[in-house]
């Protein structure tokens, strides 16, 4: 008699792709210690698909074999998983609010620490550096830019962006209330814009894993925009806890424009400074 699915033990998996993905993530955490199991599954599935295309592999099982044996493949995997579409002064209204409402408060502190959590290729880091510079805060501010991927961090720390995007970045900068000559912040070669050194001076790039690492300082402003959208519910809660405990009292937290604390237990621990801009302030 043929086995009917209903008679099968309940832990039998009929979705082979799902099973392959779970096995891959299990293999990665056991081999390399990076835990992606609590990432949001639909996004992870799409990103793994992209990794397969880049690695020119057909199956997730094939990818698993490669990643188990190759640290380089693991690094590439992390970079692809961690990369995010971004732009300097992305969401100009948000950066205008930073400039007008947050920076004046930061200025009252003797020293200002900013954390860009999940900085990927660094667009927001340098946007922030420009804001601090224009507020005259460069000398007494430090930006901590962290990411899971050392490959992305290396790219971010070089401060090199495609020249062809500078028009868009300039538009964003102006829309965010910038008044200087944006092109004075970078030099160019044939294809690139390279952020000038003074803006990179007070930025510290370092590897940090939001999944497993702890708090490493207390910040006056934390930017964690469009990072948690890739995390599952339990992991999001853990990271909110981490961000909360990494902020000074009345410190500022910025999430992506389509993220908010509604439906989370953290809603009562923060005041929404501007809910439209997902800009929050930690309660005492």
């Amino acid at each position: 008699m043929a086995l009917r699915l209903n008679d099968a033990p309940s832990d039998l998996v009929d979705d082979v792709e799902e099973l392959e993905l779970e096995l891959l993530l299990d293999a990665i955490v056991r081999r390399w210690g990076y835990d992606f199991r609590d990432y949001s599954r639909p996004s992870m599935r799409r990103r793994v698909q992209r990794v397969l295309e880049r690695e020119q592999l057909r199956t997730v099982s094939g990818l698993q074999g490669r990643i188990l044996r190759s640290e380089e493949a693991m690094r590439r995997f992390i970079a692809t998983i961690s990369v995010s579409v971004s732009a300097m002064f992305r969401d100009p209204r948000f950066f205008a609010a930073l400039r007008e409402e947050v920076i004046p408060v930061l200025r009252t502190h003797p020293f200002v620490r900013v954390w860009v959590a999940g900085c990927a290729t660094g667009e927001e880091v340098y946007s922030m550096a420009i804001l601090l510079h224009e507020a005259g805060l460069s000398a007494r501010a430090r930006i901590y830019a962290t990411d899971l991927s050392d490959e992305l961090l290396e790219r971010a720390s070089r401060g090199v962006f495609p020249l062809k995007r500078m028009q868009e970045y300039t538009r964003n900068y102006l829309a965010a209330g910038g008044r200087a000559d944006f092109s004075s912040y970078y030099r160019t070669d044939a294809e690139h814009a390279i952020i000038r050194h003074p803006l990179r001076q007070n930025v510290v790039f370092s590897q940090h894993n939001l999944v497993s690492d702890g708090s490493f300082n207390e910040f006056h402003l934390v930017l964690c925009r469009n990072v948690l959208i890739y995390f599952g519910e339990a992991l999001r809660d853990r990271v909110y806890e981490l961000l909360f405990s990494s902020m000074v009292r009345h410190g500022y937290l910025a999430l992506g424009l389509k993220e908010n604390l509604r439906h989370t237990r953290w809603n009562s621990r923060f005041d929404a400074l501007d809910e439209e801009l997902s800009l929050y302030r930690r309660r005492a």
């Binding site: 979705d15 799902e18 949001s40 599954r41 639909p42 996004s43 799409r46 990103r47 992209r50 995010s84 579409v85 971004s86 469009n226 948690l228 959208i229 890739y230 599952g232 519910e233 999001r236 992506g256 389509k258 993220e259 908010n260 509604r262 439906h263």
Partner: protein, 196 residues
């Protein structure tokens, strides 16, 4: 509480008329959540949700990350984010465009099919690309109901035609006819008796 069933709908060119017509017959009493993916300009904002809502006579909200798929909710994919379904929530992603689209109808449909299986209905309406056809096939493969706007009645027939080449839909018709069929699928009876 999460809805019992989920409708995912996709459109581009012509969607501002077709989507409200689809939503019109869906009574607020249905135990149904709706997610709409309307291709739109990257800079367009919340007014589109208001416009569709006004035309449909329902409250339509732009989705945030982790918005629950609650009973009666009608959520619109925000501009420039992929909108996916994970369990009983909408999830967003800024990953690269899929077949030149973000939000991608295929990505929405595919994730909904995976998460909701036979409890999902997908409707592909007027649209000038084939985005959505693959997702619709995935919905069908996983036991969901599929609805396609009649290409002859669509402002842009590319998506409906691409869909009909891939699936044998549960129903083909005008958006209003599909809405009525989906209402029947979702169970037309109100949950309580207070509405008669």
């Amino acid at each position: 509480m999460s809805a019992a069933r989920l409708l995912v709908a996709g459109a581009s060119l012509g969607g501002l008329d077709a989507v409200p017509e689809l939503l019109g017959p869906l009574s607020v009493d249905l135990d149904l959540a709706v997610v709409v993916c309307q291709h739109r300009h990257a800079d367009s904002g919340a007014p589109l949700a208001r416009l569709i809502g006004e035309r449909a006579g329902r409250s339509v909200l732009e989705a945030f990350d982790a918005t629950p798929l609650g009973r009666g909710a009608i959520l619109l994919a925000p501009a420039n984010y992929h909108t996916l379904v994970e369990g009983e929530h909408v999830r967003l992603s800024l990953d690269a465009t899929e077949r030149f689209a973000r939000p991608s109808i295929d990505a929405l449909f595919g994730s909904a099919a995976r998460a909701w299986g036979g409890r999902v209905a997908a409707a592909l309406l007027t649209s000038s690309s084939d985005d959505g056809a693959r997702g619709l096939a995935e919905v069908q493969r996983r036991g969901g109901a599929t609805y396609v706007q009649d290409p002859a009645l669509a402002e842009a027939r590319e998506a409906p035609e691409a869909a009909l080449a891939r699936v044998t839909p549960t129903a083909v018709g005008s958006p209003a006819e599909l809405g009525a069929a989906i209402a029947a699928w979702a169970g037309a009876l109100p949950a309580g008796r207070t509405h008669g």
